[in-house]
Subunit: 285 residues, 4 copies
Amino acid sequence: MLNYLAGQWLSDEEATINVKNTGILTGISVYEVLRTYNGLPFAAKKHFERLKKSADYMGIPLPINFDEFLELLLEGVKKNHNSSGEELRIKVILVQSTNNFSEIIVLYEELPKVSSDVYELGVKVGISKFIRPSAALVPSIIKIPGAPWKVLTRKAMGVYYDMLLLNEKGDLCEGTISNVFLIKDEKLITPNIESGILPGITRENVIGLAKAMEIPVEERTVKGWELFTAQEVFLTHTSAGIVPIRKIEDRVYIEDFADGITRILLDNFEGFIMTNESNWEGLSK
Amino acid sequence: MLNYLAGQWLSDEEATINVKNTGILTGISVYEVLRTYNGLPFAAKKHFERLKKSADYMGIPLPINFDEFLELLLEGVKKNHNSSGEELRIKVILVQSTNNFSEIIVLYEELPKVSSDVYELGVKVGISKFIRPSAALVPSIIKIPGAPWKVLTRKAMGVYYDMLLLNEKGDLCEGTISNVFLIKDEKLITPNIESGILPGITRENVIGLAKAMEIPVEERTVKGWELFTAQEVFLTHTSAGIVPIRKIEDRVYIEDFADGITRILLDNFEGFIMTNESNWEGLSK
Amino acid sequence: MLNYLAGQWLSDEEATINVKNTGILTGISVYEVLRTYNGLPFAAKKHFERLKKSADYMGIPLPINFDEFLELLLEGVKKNHNSSGEELRIKVILVQSTNNFSEIIVLYEELPKVSSDVYELGVKVGISKFIRPSAALVPSIIKIPGAPWKVLTRKAMGVYYDMLLLNEKGDLCEGTISNVFLIKDEKLITPNIESGILPGITRENVIGLAKAMEIPVEERTVKGWELFTAQEVFLTHTSAGIVPIRKIEDRVYIEDFADGITRILLDNFEGFIMTNESNWEGLSK
Amino acid sequence: MLNYLAGQWLSDEEATINVKNTGILTGISVYEVLRTYNGLPFAAKKHFERLKKSADYMGIPLPINFDEFLELLLEGVKKNHNSSGEELRIKVILVQSTNNFSEIIVLYEELPKVSSDVYELGVKVGISKFIRPSAALVPSIIKIPGAPWKVLTRKAMGVYYDMLLLNEKGDLCEGTISNVFLIKDEKLITPNIESGILPGITRENVIGLAKAMEIPVEERTVKGWELFTAQEVFLTHTSAGIVPIRKIEDRVYIEDFADGITRILLDNFEGFIMTNESNWEGLSK
């Protein structure tokens, strides 16, 4: 793969940065992860806006505008996708140098393939013993590398697809790579921003899809134990979309969700995101 | 300066790492900052042990033992100190690569000089509006780069020497680069580990000095407002030792601490640390 | 004094209730404390509405309407004030009986006199070590007897006029008998309802007075330590109105507030409340 | 029934107290509830000691010693039990008068009968939306009337046998009238005192029974959601002993616990408490 770094397109081997001259080691960096569909960067505008919000919050100057951002993404796609035909995962990092100058790094890799079992059988998730601070303690919007609760949870992942984190009040937040949704009494319920979550682009699309299908949506604080009184639970994340949950901890959760709301959302998800204009802003398809 | 990286001694300009192949970007790294006194690395054993604890907690394999660690420090000191005669600040970073292999990086720079005004007049500190989670929420021991409360507080520092952070209960924790001590009723009081602090080596030495001088020491939870009912308050950190505080926020704090306990501790600090064997373990002085 | 109980006017000695037949012992009761000015019950409508809110929240039926409530108050004043000419303190208790029937009790006593020193010199207050839960934990509106933090704080009162309580986050709430206000940068600041306070009628009048005088008012979360960076601090409570604070803990606070905003509010307080129509609703003066 | 009040034995109708002269209305009171087995007061010494601890904590003088306390209980039992042959529920209240003098009140009533369905089929419990503060916020030991979270939860009880409360961290505490136990991996797990519970005498006996039967016991913080990953859950309280739970919220919990550990404990409970000397201290059986 070729990656964008210090104004150049560099191979994986050449993609080096100076450790003394950047905010990498002092943590003054924020990032976004995007994916492509059919070689087109998905929801580029939304990711750009979230990156800008994080950057503003952290006081890091953002050296490019959306058009330049999109151009960079597309240039990399051309260099990396066209040769292989594989979908890509694109990591955009904004790092502040020690001299108050900031830099955009764009790293490309092949999008990991998701087994069809994940969608058909659902996955097993655990509940982390580490605490994800709520937005009242640590601002949610900042997508920083190395949040300790995330790193420590990932170290403890074992056989789970992901582990869900609760905040300091015992409210449900999110997984280490995913947002989480519950179906209860025919409603779609998901933790609100205040609970302490990254407001995922896939999460936003699922909420949009549900509204389009006239399924009532509640963004609210969700007690950790509500996971067990819900009828269905699923995850969402960029690389896999909607991922049904079959088991939480060692407790059977959903034996069969064939006719459930999760299945309905799953069946309609790709159609929705592909035709939803807001996901393709800037691209003349 | 020459820095140790990938098994080589490299100049500042050459000190680069691959962004795709390390845990730098995923935050799987821990670090320590040491200083030299007269060109000798201070409290190397204590820093090594703290690094080991962080590494164990994060599940990062530590590829060297203390003897190798000390040898690395000394080799760098020889390369960097002897030429200039300046004291050094040494940053040791342990990074886990993506392939579960870990690497030690040692960066050297000149120790910033501290103005004598700092010790004679004291400094002005603020109270951060950002929250430092207590140890019950986020394990204190892990010294990770980029804790958001630290980064955001530093962005808001303004004219202050440092800003003090309180935890989610309103208890006093620490500054962004320092630990904090109060003198009240002839006792030395400092937040305990549970409050959410990095257990500083200088902090440990000040506690040792106070005990040696038979000044009662309390490590306990300290309410944020106790800063204002104390008779004296001071900071401690590696590069400057003991730093008296003259003002907190815009409120005059200590007009004159000439005869206070802070002054007594300051006057005896260097003598204590230089002669305290535990700070020089491994060095045949 | 004569008191209203079980539909009768009874002397202090006769004022008995059955312990088995009421909610007194199971705590299903709420109360209000009013005072008279010139023998007229102050802010009767506001107290009635607050009682109603508490009762609704606790699910206790309120057996009388405002007119009946006011009539009861006035009847007691006639019986108790006219003989002595003293101002009265009136405690109204709504108790739910075990059989889901509720009862109004009205107790009268002489209003304690406030020494002029309190207003001229100010008072000394402490900070309680007991925690007043915020409204997110325990609904603020319910004025129940025997909140443990209040009872325990009062046991520890010592020489203080009142002690201030902080909530579980270290935010300032209120005293055991008072609300608290800060003056900072010419603004009037007081903890908001969410912090965990009883929304005092005197507090409400002071806010009204400040607004009438075009002093900016902030109702917000106030960190405990802000008590010490304010220029002036005062208490408010029904029986004494505005009470300046001279000292917090053992720290001199305000040497001289002769020309401060507290003094200005104090000088205008009685005039404001006596002429503010909303305090005398239902009374044809 | 005859009740002990103001040094006299009074019928239910005569059992009145003066509202102005006692701490009843200011909440300066603590209480205990005991029951009889075969007309003998159960665990009188343990209840006395807990009452004493509460009284000491609240600073209320306890006007009687254990011998006098037991004598009072027995005298009431003689007066009330012997006539009817029914088991009794005995409420002991210690009230502080306004003049710093305290009084013991002992109220007797028939012990409510427990349907055998409760033991054979188990009960349905809910999870309260009100928060029980942990011991770090509100001292657990004090058994005061009218804790708002308890009163409000009871108002919302509906069809449930009891509702479980979680603390401000989302940890499991207790029911409004009961303690709660989980069976998980053949271990008996129950919230520790720090979580915010009343340390029930029945709870203590169940822990003793489990230990005697060599079932491992864990007193620890229990996340609210662990209720749903346990194999069995049961309540304990004075009047009913061990009460199996069949359902939590609207989720089937235990279909059949016939051979579970709950059943084993239930079958051995009465034998254990009847022969455990510590429950009958002071009684020459």
